[in-house]
């Protein structure tokens, strides 16, 4: 018995050590990196810096630019002596990270809410920002999150757009072929033409040297936001428009999903002309799709301007900067010839009102520095590639990356109907997850489209009721 016990105990110790060492590395990779960096910065400028009261803690939402934020924190500390800690939540885990971080003794002083729904759940923590410099410089005050009584609780800090990104080199190759269904991208201004072109391209994919027209429709759980959120925004935007729904009221508690056929149109097109067999989509990630695009294996992929960093960083990237452009997502709605990209924001800065006055002030100062000083603006425009909605940014101070330029270009076009981001009022993450799961089952052929559409309607109502 004793020997058994000894064996068990020693084995248990071995296992528990293994457990300890493995779990943080899997979840907090970026944050450990961050803390390493900031503690390094801490040492370099520790003499003569301010006391504990002025620390800024920024909980970053965007993992793709985590390293740039660390640099910004370092620069700011060198300039002002105020310590800025940046922690980045893992992709898709912002709410989880925020929930645990904000309950700590040193909570984030700056965090992000994702729209009106986010404000409702975090209103106990959001400070009123109406008197801050940053809000005063916001170009379009209507973009901010308010309580309807003059209080401002979330300031958008980046405007983003998404659509179908295409590789012009491949498109030109196609247009030059005999019997091409269109002769230039300008001719593709509705779903019918898009479908004709895409299906013809699929038929000629061997000659075009691609594996499929569209990159794989990533439907792995957690990687399916391009469909259940971004794509779903379009039919629902048209629905809200057609029924003149007040988006701030209770009328959004039910939907009819009356344009579900239009969602199906484009979704089927994605599935059937893809690089990947629809049955295998359940393990594809967004990064896979972007890599396929970057390697020239496909001509189109639905994503937003934030994807540029992902595309340009893929090793063996064959897409040239001047070949990358946006096409609006056409779904077959009437009058969509004038439709533009989907442009909006789901990133709103909020300041934690439960931290000390000094910390709140320090946070405001840090944000204002970032969006108004020359150094800060340089980071925003050239490193982060943000299209910042503040009047501190003059002419020519806009990002140089091709997709952000495209978004600006589409915003400025005459007579183009830009689609706002209405998905900020989608009822809950559970709704989106279930929608994504239903789409996967549809792609795999185990669920009919009628079931998907009706489950969207019923789940929307249920999730709105519990919220």
């Amino acid at each position: 018995m004793k020997r058994v016990l000894a064996a068990v105990l020693s084995a248990a110790i071995a296992v528990s050590f293994a457990g300890c060492s493995s779990s943080p590395s899997s979840s907090g990779q970026s944050s450990s990196q961050t803390s390493g960096q900031t503690s390094g910065a801490d040492v370099s400028s520790s003499q003569g810096t301010s006391g504990k009261g002025e620390k800024v803690y920024y909980l970053n939402f965007k993992p793709e630019v985590a390293e740039i934020y660390n640099e910004i924190a370092k620069t700011y500390q060198e300039e002002t002596g105020v310590e800025v800690t940046v922690v980045t939540a893992a992709s898709g885990a912002y709410e989880q990270t925020l929930k645990s971080e904000i309950a700590k003794a040193e909570p984030p002083t700056i965090f992000q809410i994702n729209g009106p729904k986010g404000y409702v759940s975090w209103k106990d923590y959001c400070a009123d920002l109406r008197d801050t410099d940053l809000y005063q410089h916001l170009t379009d005050k209507a973009l901010a999150i308010t309580d309807g009584q003059g209080g401002v609780y979330g300031i958008p800090y980046v405007v983003e757009g998404y659509g179908i990104i295409y590789n012009d080199a491949i498109m030109q190759k196609y247009f030059a072929m005999d019997g091409a269904k269109a002769s230039s991208v300008e001719e593709i201004n509705n779903f019918e033409t898009l479908k004709a072109v895409v299906e013809d391209m699929t038929a000629k994919k061997g000659e075009l040297g691609i594996e499929g027209v569209f990159a794989s429709t990533s439907l792995k759980p957690g990687e399916d936001w391009r469909w259940h959120t971004h794509l779903a925004n379009l039919p629902l935007y048209y629905e809200f428009q057609a029924n003149s729904i007040d988006l701030t009221g209770d009328a959004t508690n039910t939907i009819q999903f009356q344009n579900s056929e239009h969602f199906k149109n484009i979704f089927d097109l994605y599935l059937n002309n893809s690089t990947t067999d629809p049955k295998l989509l359940g393990s594809r990630q967004v990064a896979d799709s972007m890599a396929e695009f970057a390697l020239g294996q496909c001509a189109m992929v639905q994503n937003g301007n934030w994807a540029w960093s992902q595309i340009s960083q893929v090793e063996g990237n064959t897409v040239k900067e001047e070949d990358i452009h946006f096409l609006p997502i056409y779904t077959g709605m009437e009058g969509e010839e004038n439709q533009g990209l989907s442009i909006g924001t789901e990133n709103f800065l909020a300041i934690n009102k439960n931290v000390s006055e000094e910390q709140q002030k320090a946070s405001e100062d840090f944000l204002f520095w970032l969006y108004s000083s020359d150094k800060g603006k340089d980071y925003i425009v050239n490193r982060l590639g943000f299209i910042a909605p503040f009047d501190t940014f003059g002419e020519g101070e806009s990002p140089a990356d091709p997709l952000a330029r495209e978004v600006l270009d589409w915003m400025g076009r005459e007579g183009v109907q830009t689609i706002p981001w209405n998905f900020t009022i989608f009822p809950s993450q559970t709704f989106k997850d279930d929608f994504g799961a239903a789409l996967l089952q549809y792609a795999q052929g185990s669920k009919s489209w009628e079931d998907v559409a009706s489950s969207v309607v019923s789940r929307w109502q249920e999730e709105s009721a519990v919220g």
Binding site: V8, S22, D124, K220, A437, L440
Partner: protein, 281 residues
């Protein structure tokens, strides 16, 4: 000597007691309290009584589905892990060359974290299923057997070590006596070896049972519940409930308390049952 020990024993107990209170008892009570409240973070809780417990079952069938999936998984993996681990232990207690090497190799999967294992096995299983034009998210069945394989791969080595210790602990005289009395190898196995390693069996079933029931990392990494939530086990369902919608943190907490009670009851029942079969020495 005894007197001084008695005098100072509270002092010596203090560090362990403090650690126990801080790391286990207080969080446990806090968690219990939170299951009766509605909260976003632990510091802004509001009492709502039993509503969370009602909602855990009434809002949808996720919890019950997850429970049924977990029970099936636990039954299958407890049996397979223990049978295979015992077989390996038997094989590796004979005089085979390289026994120690084999023991080490079989034990090694245990040293890899669950998330990593989940992703590795997802690649392997998808690689195989790819030949049939599907992947692991296609059906909950694939997820189920994928989890069973993963669990076996991870746990067998660990259980094998425990069984080996048990088998080596059997007095040589007993085996010899059995051989002299003309017992066949199978009779020796059934009437000597298995009863004599009953204490190992108790520990092994306990560990596999509770580990299977509480499985989370592997489940999250391998299937994340796909398709839909059909392959989500209890721990993953609790996690999804907690983070999936606003205002459901308390419901997730209530499910966690129910989960704790279930694990405790099952573990005690199992310990009681297998303990009674152990041979006293």
């Amino acid at each position: 000597m005894d007197k001084t020990l008695k005098k100072y024993f509270p002092l010596f107990l203090l560090p362990a007691l403090a650690a126990f209170l801080i790391a286990f008892f207080i969080p446990f009570l806090l968690g219990l309290y939170l299951s009766f409240t509605e909260f976003t973070t632990v510091s802004n809780a509001q009492w709502v009584g039993l509503r969370n417990y009602v909602r855990a079952f009434s809002s949808n069938r996720d919890f019950l589905n997850a429970l049924w999936f977990t029970v099936r998984f636990t039954v299958v993996s407890v049996i397979t892990v223990n049978v295979l681990a015992f077989a390996l232990a038997l094989a590796l207690t004979r005089d085979i060359r390289g026994t120690n090497l084999f023991r080490t190799i079989f034990f090694m999967p245990n040293l890899i974290g669950g998330i990593v294992l989940g992703y590795i096995w997802q690649l392997i299983i998808n690689g195989v299923l790819m030949n049939f034009g599907v992947d692991i998210t296609f059906s909950a069945k694939y997820g189920f057997w994928g989890l069973v394989i993963l669990m076996n791969w991870q746990m067998i080595g660990y259980m094998m070590i425990i069984y080996i210790a048990g088998i080596q602990n059997i007095p040589g005289e007993l085996i010899e006596a059995a051989a002299i009395d003309g017992a066949s190898p199978f009779q020796t196995l059934y009437h000597v070896t298995i009863p004599m390693v009953a204490s190992s069996t108790t520990i092994c079933t306990f560990l596999t049972l509770t580990n299977s029931f509480k499985l989370f990392d592997q489940n999250l990494a391998l299937t994340a519940g796909a398709p839909g939530r059909e392959s989500a086990m209890l721990a993953l369902d609790i996690y999804n409930t907690f983070y999936g919608r606003m205002g459901y943190e308390g419901v997730g907490q209530a499910k966690a308390v129910i989960f704790f009670l279930m694990v405790a009851v099952i573990a005690f029942a199992q310990l009681f049952l297998t303990r009674s079969k152990e041979v006293e020495r």
